[in-house]
Amino acid sequence: MDALIQAFGLVFDPFVLGVIAVSAVFGMFVGAMPGLTATMATALLVPVTFFMPPVPALGAIVTATAMAIFAGDIPAAMLRMPGTPASAAYADESYAMTKKGQLNLNMGVNLVFSVAGGLVGVAVLIAAAPLLAEVAINFSSFEYFWLACLGLTCAVFLTNADAVKGFLSLFIGLLLATVGIDPSAGAPRFTFGEVELMQGVNFVATMIGVFAVSELLRGASTVRDAGHVVVQQVGDMFRGLGAVFRRYWFNFLRGSAIGTVIGALPGAGADIAAWISYAVSKRFSKEPEKFGTGHVEGIVDSTSANNSALGGAWIPALVFGIPGDSITAIVIGVLYMKGMNPGPTVFTENPQLIYAVFLIFILANLIMLPLGWAAIKSARQMLRTPRNILLPMILMFCIVGSFAMTNSLYGVAIMLAMGIFGWFLEEHGVPVAPLILGLVLGEMLEQTFVQNMIKADGNWLAFVDRPIAGALGVATLLIWAVMIARGTGLLGARRAAAA
């Protein structure tokens, strides 16, 4: 109880509230601009939060991402351009509603169900995380090895890209994590005599490169011929919402549940949650023929799902130190930088910080209602921000942000190299999220693997001897089997026959 009171004190502090308010506006803006994603918002925030105490730093990230995921719905409905990938699943449906003259209702549904879905995700986080932490406290290096394996496997399994390219991205990320001093023997690896490389590949500079610079490279080719966009003004967005809720309350619950679970699965975040819940909604709808023509049902499911995924993603991140999506991958990096190593012990050693994160989550979702309303009302002005001013500004911010992470040009060089590399990978259909997860989890995976090998002394059965480790191991191997079956066409044929 003391911890909860302490947490209130930590959160309701003028500085923290100020940071939350500023990051809320920042998140809304980044989310609403097509081409700027929630992950990019987080990557750009980290250099700023680096110098803050843990609570405002985490507060900034939680708030900005929650806002960005909602704000992505605004240009999706108005321009058919999803503001973040998380809104891509239902951008066509949203735009079709707008063309039918239901922009007001559409925006109201997106806003209210985003808030409600977000709150469901937080509720599950609050209920599940401490319980899981109690189980996790008994985990040994075998369990952590399999958890990391399972997380990384899910990251590949759940991306829509093909499995070979997903694994390729993962291996490259894990290999990048081996640069620097080796965790078990202390020998320098792949440093080429450079002192800066001894500390490893800087994680935040890599993030900024892969998620922001590569995006700028893609955006740059069309900046010069971007015309001005015309969007309509939104009227009373809350009219008719009651009827939607009474009719589709089950869709809301189902969407939020799917979103939370997908978010909690390592490696899959809000965008995949939205795709899956939209598909589920269509599959089980009584009127599937209306989907795609501006039907509100699928939007209820998926707009709740993408916001609830955010809370879900924090469950494995806080309890095991295994990120649920690319945003929490950054969060884990931040936690390590703050000396708060994520894992079950945080719940006993620093419970006030955990409660503070919960409070900020609730707060962020509550202020989303008025702020989201304001963002929708001012969308006309916001979407008119010229990209030819925005892109160079973001580039400069990327440069300074990565410089600040190492206080040297080494960070800037890493950012540039990773930006071009990430762009190259995405051009070839190689997803970058597994790479980032590999980079974050690489050290843990290697350390537990080598420890286990030494403990087991050649006896492979030791890896699955303990019950939880065994279950996690079997789950991982099962997913591998499914992927191999899918790759060789065994499942593909059956699915084609079913369809």
């Binding site: 080719s221 410089f403 051009e427 070839h428």
Partner: protein, 154 residues
């Protein structure tokens, strides 16, 4: 811009071989079977496996060796894309001599003008953004942004 999967696969095989070769220089510890080279070697094998699969698939699909996008053929767009890494490279090479403020201002101004912002907008925005970033990072966050030419003034 994409290269054929077969070419990509061969590149990856070469890369994996290079990584394996590098691991052979890592120190080994007597009596310790699982040394620093174990994990990177597993990864190199994984990358080689992916490379092999991609190469086989690429050969079967018979794609073009190199597929170029629209923007590569349009000189103006090509410059737009190349300006982004170019600006970062320019920053890396001159910032220590010139200092953050002149470098950032020049880079922003060039990019704004190339992207067809009006000079009336570009000049004040470039100055404003540069000074804001400098105030925030150098002033508030105590990041040692290079002072360069302005060392005596700041």
């Amino acid at each position: 811009m994409r290269v054929n999967d077969a070419v990509l696969g061969v590149l990856l095989l070469g890369f994996a071989g290079w990584v394996w070769w590098l691991t052979s220089f890592f120190p080994a510890f007597p009596g310790q079977d699982y040394g620093p080279s174990l994990f990177p070697r597993i990864l190199a094998a994984g990358i080689a496996g992916c490379g092999l699969l991609l190469a086989l698939r690429g050969l079967r699909a018979r794609q073009r060796l190199l597929t170029l996008d629209e923007w590569v053929r349009d000189p103006a767009r090509l410059v737009s894309v190349l300006l982004m890494p170019g600006a970062v490279l320019a920053y890396i090479f001159v910032v220590d001599t010139l200092g953050f403020i002149p470098t950032a201002f020049a880079i922003l101004l060039v990019l704004f003008l190339w992207f067809r912002a009006r000079p009336v907008v570009a000049l004040p925005v470039a100055a404003g953004v540069t000074l804001t970033i400098h105030w925030f990072f150098a002033g508030m966050m105590r990041v040692p942004l290079p002072r360069g030419l302005l060392d005596s003034v700041l």
